[in-house]
Amino acid sequence: MTAPLQYYLLLSAALFCVGLFGVLTRNNALIFLMSVELMLNAANVNFVAFSVYHGNLTGQLFALFVIALAAAEVAVGIGIFLVLYRNFGEVDVTVPTTMRW
């Protein structure tokens, strides 16, 4: 009836690695934000899959909280990128280097 747990874990691993690929190889800050979102959603898939596997709802509730945290993170992130765009004229993460070290 339900798909085996391995399928969910494979999907989750693929999502996470797509997100990691985006974070490691892109310079655009907005693509960074989307990639981090993909990684968070990979965690959500795992939470829900293991919630069914263990038969209690803690995982599903935790996935809800991760979604809410992701919304908060995006709100602050886009605010930061607006300031970035205003000061540098682009949203390239390699340009602002003042606070790197």
């Binding site: 391995q6 691993a13 690695c17 690929f21 190889t25 709802l57 908060a72 602050v76 605010g79 205003r86």
Partner: protein, 131 residues
């Protein structure tokens, strides 16, 4: 001339290979592992209703599946975090125009430039002439 998307190799090659390699490692681990049958949510009528009960700490054998914890404290914490993010967003959106602070809610500049300037654009030529 049409262009096709090109792979940006070079300094991004190693991080990309690392990400793909991580997927290969994780996929191998997952495929080789074995899990039993899922337990499922037997005995609880509606999973959505049970999530609502657990969110507000209404726990019991007839409301939520065994082992589910209450999440009322986390719920309130997330509410606080969301408000903090909202305030942070408004604070970050503040900007200065000619030495005066312009926020999303209040602006001294708007009164001088007129309400049509609230989109942050520059004055048009006709308005310059009128002034």
């Amino acid at each position: 001339m049409t262009t096709k998307p090109e792979l940006d190799l070079g300094r991004h090659l190693l991080p990309g290979i690392i990400a793909v390699g991580l997927f290969v490692v994780m996929a191998t681990l997952v495929v080789r592992s074995s899990f039993g049958d899922p337990t499922g949510f037997g005995g609880v009528g509606s999973v959505t209703a049970a999530i609502g009960f657990a969110l507000f700490d209404i726990l019991g054998a007839e409301t939520v599946p065994a082992g589910t914890e209450g999440f009322l404290a986390a719920f309130e914490t997330i509410a606080f975090v969301l408000v903090a993010a909202l305030v942070g967003g408004v604070t970050l959106a503040r900007r200065e125009v000619e030495g005066e602070v312009v926020t999303a809610l209040r602006s001294e500049v708007d009164r001088r430039w007129g309400p049509e300037q609230t989109d942050g654009g520059s004055p048009t030529e006709r308005e310059d002439d009128a002034r």
